[in-house]
């Protein structure tokens, strides 16, 4: 007779309390946000829409993110599931909205993956040129063929690492994140020193009005700026949801608070220093210059740091690499959950028997991001810039749905306590409304051909076409799935429900 018993005594499940620890959680949080990458990608664009008020937008942009993150955490506490937004929205609003929320998350992460790899390509060539002392090499990145091939190589490497679940040691991770923060601070201080010495490119005196969101000229500019600043805080929510593995301590809240404190200070410092150094004009190094907008550090590191500019290249490269890896798991896990619940073909639910990663989903996400980047590189005049703008739109879309899911799902619990009034009703509701308004405003504004980088097809802004195509494509695939795999859409795998205030067992990814 063969006996089949589980020897539970042998299994070490989960992290012991405090294994990640406060420092570890902060490091993971900063690593996911990747400040060096996000700032170089978003600063120029944000300046071009809101002018000098970038610091104000950074501060205001954090608010909807925080409000939605509270709703996210509430949902995560009762329905911890790999599908996150997809699963929660399905549970709250049913299969169709849930499907589109999942699609929004996947689309947003695929967009950011392609942008990350694109930024990394620029900095790779810059780094090589800085090391070899041959300035022409940095220009190679503008050749679309070289660019696409290098980008695909980066993608392949990142996919390989994710697929095989290779990890760095904690020490390396600490060093990389520490290095990134130190270099950014150094970069900002050097810029301010130039301003003080009168050697800045376009010295602009720092004013209090930079921090005043009401000084932004129009609501459209405000909305555009806001959706960009939502992008720069995207990823922060992971520190809020790391509660399960740091249980027994107050660490998660503290880790999230410290992480966001570090990030906000860093962003404000960089925004103020670089604006003060370069101004918002459209001159050679002005932050308003379209030529440098998509990758500000790439152009400003040399004038500000001189020979030390190489440090910025290394910081952005390592930050992009770390972020590529942490971002990869998100679409892969959502695809896996969608496969598991029958919202997508079953293959997506496959877990690699040797590496224990969502292997098929990872490869699909990678191929989609690579193909997207390759096409965009040739279609768009400014691929990085347009992807970031479209990304802001997609984040508003799926985060908005997530926030409303929290509000609706907890509808019977709202007034059970004062805490619930805020965390399950007011915070996510306000956050969701802000994101919804941003989404609609961006959609309407982006129709104009001059929106974003000014790329357009037939007089319609490329960002609009991108956003509508991505959402439209999701809709079409959803209808196809509805026909091919109706079980999920009949509510057979996830039923619509509402919270009873306890942990929700109706959606357990593994049943």
């Amino acid at each position: 007779m063969s006996t089949q018993q589980q020897s539970s005594g042998l299994s070490k499940k989960g992290l012991g309390a405090g294994t990640v620890g406060l420092i570890g959680a902060i490091v993971i949080g900063i690593s996911c946000i990747a400040p060096a990458y996000t700032m170089t990608a978003a600063l120029g664009g944000t300046t071009s829409v809101v002018g000098l008020q970038v610091p104000a937008i950074i501060l205001v942009g954090f608010i909807p993110m925080l409000l939605v993150a509270f709703g996210y955490r509430e949902l995560n506490n009762v329905m911890s599931d790999s599908g996150t937004s997809f699963t929660w929205a399905t549970r709250a609003f049913g299969p169709y909205i849930g499907w589109m929320a999942g699609w929004g998350l996947i689309a947003a992460t695929i967009l950011v993956l392609s942008n990350l790899a694109g930024i990394a390509v620029d900095f790779l060539f810059l780094l090589i040129s800085q090391i070899t002392g041959a300035p022409d090499i940095a220009g190679i990145a503008t050749n679309p063929f070289v660019n696409v091939v290098t980008c695909l190589a980066f993608m392949f490497a990142a996919t390989w690492v994710s697929y095989r679940d290779m990890q760095t040691t904690q020490k390396i991770q600490y060093v990389l994140v520490g290095f990134q923060v130190v270099v950014l601070v150094l970069f900002a201080i050097a810029a301010l020193v130039h301003v003080a010495n009168g050697t800045a490119y376009d010295a602009t005196p720092i004013e209090l009005s930079w921090f005043n969101p009401f000084a932004v000229e129009s609501f459209s500019s405000f909305a555009a700026g806001l959706s960009l600043s939502i992008f720069i805080f995207w990823g922060w929510d992971v520190t809020l949801t790391m509660n399960e593995e740091t249980k027994g301590a107050k660490t998660p809240g503290r880790a999230a608070t410290i992480t966001v404190g570090v990030i906000v200070v860093l962003y404000l410092l960089l925004a103020v220093a670089l604006t003060s150094f370069a101004g918002v004009g459209t001159g050679e190094f002005g932050l308003g210059n379209e030529e440098i907008q998509d990758n500000v550090f790439f152009h400003l590191a040399g004038p500000i740091l001189g020979p030390l500019a190489v440090l910025v290249s290394i910081a952005v490269l390592s930050s992009s690499a770390a972020s590529l890896q942490s971002t990869f798991v998100s679409p892969a896990r959502t695809l896996l959950a969608m496969g598991h619940y029958g919202a997508l073909p079953e293959r997506f639910a496959q877990v690699h028997p040797r590496f224990f990663t969502p292997g098929f989903a990872t490869i699909v996400a990678s191929v989609a991001a690579s193909a997207f980047y390759a096409v965009m590189r040739f279609v768009s005049e400014n691929v990085l810039w347009d992807t970031i703008t479209a990304l802001g739109m997609m984040i508003c879309f799926y985060y908005g749905i997530t926030a409303f899911s929290a509000v609706w799902y907890f509808r019977t619990q709202w007034f059970r306590s004062v805490r619930n009034v805020f965390f399950q009703l007011l915070f996510p509701l306000v956050g969701g409304v802000v994101l919804a308004v941003l989404f609609v405003t961006t959609i309407i504004d982006s129709m104009a051909p001059e929106y974003g980088s000014g790329s357009n097809i037939g007089g319609v802004g490329l960002v609009f076409i991108l956003g509508v195509t991505v959402i439209g494509l999701g809709f079409v695939i959803m209808i196809v799935q509805r026909v091919v795999r109706p079980a999920f859409f009949r509510g057979e795998t996830i039923t619509v429900g509402k919270s009873d205030g306890r942990e929700d067992a109706a959606v357990e990814l593994a049943e």
Partner: protein, 290 residues
């Protein structure tokens, strides 16, 4: 006696399980089927997702249940999910904790390029295991057999040879199958070896056969074959093999010449031989008494 099977839900894992079952049945051992998951406490760039980890854990348990269902009646088996930094580490830890007498894994590498080379997991095991490691050749799960018919021991004069012989004798005794000694002394020699060298090989063969005969119980036969040829590949090809036998070879972490000679031999034999190989470490704790 417990045999630790390093299981994954892959062809290599099923090969390991099939070999584990045959060895356990032949020697009356109990199987501990182990699936090693990546330790969640390791450093990671990716934020931990408890829900995903739970999903993987439950999948692992269902894979193990499938494995246990494949174990035939008459063989006792337990399943374990363990967390470790690496597969090899997880197997070694479990083996230590459960006092395993042998670790069974799929021998071949999974990679396309390394189709016929020894895999990274068995290699890592061979470097630190103190118990014999059985390497299941690719495709052995398809073999229609239930036990082992013979134990062959490929033996030279390298350090650790005594332990190796002891392990083979113990295996043949408990499985009650004939023992064949394959002297590799002639192979260890340079290609232009003289008659003296050959005579030395004969003498070595007689010595080991003597030793084996003395230690084998009544009714268990032993014979000796001198492998010839200048390379291990030729030596292996020069003798006949039975698909249902197992081969004991030695592995030495500190071979006389400063490199893993017998480890290399094992790798070469694995490439040539369609039969399972059991690599006995030089400082194996398994002795003829144990």
């Amino acid at each position: 006696m417990r045999f630790i099977v390093g299981y994954t839900d892959t062809p290599a894992g099923k090969d390991a399980l099939a070999l584990g079952v045959r060895l356990a049945r032949a020697r009356g051992a109990r199987l501990e089927i182990v699936l090693v998951l990546a330790s969640e406490s390791r450093a990671t760039l990716v934020p931990a997702a408890p829900s995903y980890d739970r999903h993987v854990r439950e999948l692992a348990e269902s894979w193990l249940a499938g494995a246990a269902a494949r174990v035939p009646d008459g063989v006792d088996a337990d399943t374990h999910v363990v967390y470790a930094e690496s597969l090899a580490e997880g197997l070694l830890d479990t083996s230590k904790r459960l006092e395993g007498s042998m670790i069974v894994v799929g021998g071949a590498s999974n990679g396309l390029r390394h189709r016929y080379t020894i895999g990274s997991v068995p290699r890592a095991l061979l470097h630190s295991a103190v118990v014999p490691v059985a390497l299941a050749p690719r495709g052995i799960r398809k073999l229609e057999t239930s036990g082992i018919t013979r134990v062959t021991c490929a033996i030279g004069r390298r350090p650790g040879a005594d332990r190796l012989l002891d392990a083979a004798v113990a295996a043949a005794s408990s499985a009650r199958v004939p023992l064949r000694l394959l002297s590799l002394v002639a192979v260890d020699l340079p290609a232009d070896a003289s008659d003296e060298a050959l005579a030395a090989a004969e003498e070595h063969a007689t010595t080991v056969l003597d030793y084996a005969t003395r230690h084998l119980p009544e009714g268990i036969d032993a014979d000796v074959v001198i492998a010839s040829g200048s390379r291990v590949q030729d030596a292996v090809a020069s003798v006949s093999w039975d698909p249902e036998e197992v081969v004991f070879v030695g592995s030495s972490r500190l071979a006389a010449s400063g490199h893993l000679f017998l480890g290399t031999t094992a790798a070469k034999m694995l490439r040539e031989l369609p039969v399972p190989m059991i690599v006995v470490p030089r400082d194996s704790v398994i002795t003829i008494e144990g």
